[in-house]
Each structure stands twice: as C-alpha cells, then as structure tokens.
Symmetry: C2
Subunit: 247 residues, 2 copies
DNA sequence: GTCCTTGTCGAACGTTGTTCGATCAGGTCG
DNA sequence: CGACCTGATCGAACAACGTTCGACAAGGAC
C-alpha cells in the first residue's frame, strides 16, 4: 500500500477527511451555554447518579468533549454548585398561613426531601452548600412571615433555615446512599439489618436490656416514618419558643 | 552482557540485585495489619484531610505500596468504614444521670462534634454510616437508661440516636467544608458572607423586610452558637415527650 | 524435597479532573 | 478585500486515582 507525496499518514483505524471537507465541530447540536451544561449534568445525574457524573460524560451528553465545558464553567466544583442551585429552584412555597405553621413547615420539608430524592443522590450536594441565588432570601422571608405572627423570636427563625435544611439534606443524603457502604460489602439492606439485629441479640442480655427489648423499633420503621419523626421533634421544639402556639 | 540461566532479566532502568542479596521486602518496618492500616489512614487524614487520603498515600505512610493494602482490606470503601468506626470508638459516655438528661445529651453532642472535627473532615464519613461494632448498642442502651426514667416513650428513644447523629455529623461535615465550595471559588468565608449580605441588602426592600432587618443574625453567629441552637431545639422537642421533664 | 497457604509488591489498566495549544467562526477596522 | 482580534471549540496530553494481575517470598505440613 503506497502513498503519494503530500497525502497524510493514515493509521489503522481509518483515513481522516481533509480539513476543508470536515464538518464544523459543533454541527447539528444546540449551542453550548452554561444552562445547557447544567441541564445536561442533571440529566446525567438522573440517569447514572453522582458517581456516574464526570466531565467527559457531561460533554458526551452534549455531543462534545470534556474540554469544551471549561470555557463556560470554572471547574467541576462550580458545576456541582450550579446543579445544586438549579435543583433548589424547583421548590415551590405556598402562601404562608401562620394558623397552619406546623403543617406548612412539615409540608415544606417533605417537598424538599421529595425534590432531592427525585434526582437520585443529588442530596449529597446539599451539605455544606448555600444557595447563593434569590432562593435563600425568598425562603427566609417566607419563614419570617409564617413564624413571626406565632411569636417566635427573630434569632430563632434566623437560625431555623440552617437546621432544617441540614436535617432534610442530611436525611436525603443518607437515604440515597442505601446501605452499600456499610460494610464495604454486597449485602441488601434487609440482610444487613437482620445481621445487625442478630448481632445485638447475641450480646449479653444483662448489659443491653432496653436495646434488646426494642430491637425491632430500632432497625425497623420505614424512611418516611423516621423522617417524619425528626421533623416532628424539631417542630415540637420550635413550638416551645412560640408565645402564641396557635398563630 | 551475558546472563546465566536462572538470573532475572534487567530493564534499562537498573540492574536488579540477585535474589539472595535482596533485602526482605518488608524489612525494618512494623508488620502490616488491618489495625496498622486504619491507624495510618487516620494519620493521613489528620495531616492532609480526606481529599489527601489515597491508597498510595496510606501505603507510603507504612513504607510500602498501595497494592499491599488490598490483602487486608477489601477496598477503599471498607477502609473508610473502618476508619469511621475507629473514630467513633473515641467516644466516652458518662454515667447516665436522668436528673441531668438535658445537660448530658448536650455534652454528648459537643463531645461527638469535637471528636469529628479533631480529625479534620472525617465527619463526611459519618453520614450514611452506622457503626457496626459494639458502640451502636452501647450508645443506644445509654440513651435508654438516661431517658426512660424521664418518661420518654420507647419508640422516641429508638429513633433519637439517628436524628442526633445525623445532626451532629451533618453539622461537623458542613463545618469541615468551610466555604471553599460555595462559588467554586477562592473567597474567604468573611468575603463570601459579606458578599451574600450585600446581595441580600440590594434586593427590593418591600419584598424582603424581615430578611433585611435580621441580616446580621442570619449570616453572623459563630459555629458554636449555631450548633448549640440546633441541639437546644431538639432537646426542647424531646422534653415535650417526657412525662416527667425533671427526671 | 515438595506442596500449600499467607503475604508482599512492581507494573499495568482504565478512568478521573484539568490544562495546553491549535484551530475555527464571526465580527471589526483599515 | 485582507488583517486582526475575540469568543469558542476540541484533540491530545498529564498527573493522580482505585484496583487487578501475576510474580515472588517466607514458613509450616507432610
């Protein structure tokens, strides 16, 4: 197989087109914007989870490579922050009604958890992050108009958002992890919990009377029930700050 | 350069010693045990944080390579679980005194937080993990002997450990992150918070009256204060379950 | 001496985040 | 029109990562 002078070397995989025949690099796809990248990243997360999210995978989702993303986004960390804020924007606040403050707070927590878990394990982004967009001020103002009439002190409301989002985010995070990492192993949640239960029951009875008595409640109970308990605990605590618990 | 039968081929980088002259591979260092590996990993975390923790780095800490660890540990995930359990074992429970249940619970939370933050950002291991060792049963039994005399229902105590450890672990986790990831950027926490404060104050005043009024409380307040508030909130909620709030 | 088990370890594989330099498209100015 | 610049794209490469493989060593059992 001889080649004339001036022709390009071809490797075994195929002969490249000459430059003037090559299609433009971004032919037939949507323009690369920051929003499109965030949306693509979220699509990858929904499909493959956070572990499946790589810059190359996001690029592939957009019909390009990883390097092209770095013009619009500083690094992966910033992309994650943008994805987080994009998810938080899905929240929808009802008209605040102080007479039903408990119910509305509980509903908000449920909604937040639902949004986080609906995007696989996106909840692990929520810890240590603050939405730097308008959502922060909006939610905070909503909390004040809801709880101020109930008589809850300012500084309590000011701190409340943190504690609530920490609990909800943390819970959704744990929920998304499953039990995969518990023993570095390959057990199903049921197997793991019965193993743990058996272990607890095998301990000396005189040392752990209470624990063994309630072992079913300890490891039983669905995530919904456990989540609701934590919210209820905090709402009860919040009510003790109220001068007018009924609004 | 001829080689006799049975000698090893040498590559360009250097001629190997003959086998009978080579020192034993694990000469002059402590034997490689699972405990030693966990301890070395913890040393690496204390020095370089979780991001600096790689299998190669742990191996180096022990005077060997990464591959040698895999005989004693299934994978990195399992090593992390072992490190987590090792850290949890640092907890020390006082004699439970139901008359001082609030104080003792608060102290326990403080201690837990102190242990987690004392090992850099080891707190990020705590989320989604359950200590599979004896500590789980010990802490649970401690909670029951402390809170049962106060009249708190069984199922409340059973769920309490989860909620508390979630809050403490989540808080310590956020604390360890600093504000590095907030904007994918390079701002100090102070710069970031004043930036956020300025942004909130620049919003239309008629839309965010409360938020702008308490903006200092929102972004101010040290971590100790915020942590204590969350604990206090949960303790107040817990007290509402008690039939005998004073023990 | 031969076999087997318990460890040890260098080299390699595939994947990751990120950077560099070349290149292209489109607009602006002389 | 051509020269120049700027915004954007992308292939190739780099260093680091977790993990696997196969070769090898030491020590006990028969």
């Amino acid at each position: 197989m001889t080649q004339g002078a001036g022709t390009r070397w071809s490797d075994a995989s195929g002969v490249p087109e000459p430059p003037w025949r090559r299609a433009p690099r971004s032919a037939g796809r949507a323009p690369l914007t920051r929003e499109a990248i965030v949306e693509a990243a979220l699509r990858v997360i929904d499909a493959d989870g956070m572990d499946g999210l790589s810059m190359r995978r996001v690029g592939e989702e957009l019909g390009t490579g990883a390097a092209s993303l770095y013009w619009h986004v500083r690094n992966k960390e910033q992309l994650l922050q943008l994805v987080f804020e994009r998810v938080i924007e899905e929240m929808q606040l009802p008209e605040p009604d102080p007479a039903r403050w408990r119910e509305q707070l509980s509903d908000l927590a449920d909604q937040m958890r639902a949004i986080l878990t609906s995007h696989r394990d996106v909840a692990r982004l929520s810890l240590g992050r603050i939405p730097s967009g308008p959502m922060l001020a909006v939610v905070n103002e909503w909390l004040f108009t809801l709880l101020k009439p109930v008589g809850i002190p300012d500084n309590v409301i000011a701190y409340l958002g943190d504690v609530f989002s920490l609990y909800v985010g943390g819970f959704a995070f744990e929920e998304s992890l499953g039990t995969a990492s518990f023993t570095g192993g390959d057990l199903s949640p049921e197997q793991f919990f019965t193993m743990l239960k058996d272990y607890v029951m095998s301990l000396p009875a005189e040392l752990f009377p209470h624990t063994q008595r309630v072992v079913d409640a300890l490891f039983g109970g669905g995530p919904d029930e456990r989540f609701a308990f934590g919210i209820d605990l905090m709402l009860r605590g919040l009510a003790t700050y109220a001068s007018d618990p009924e609004g």
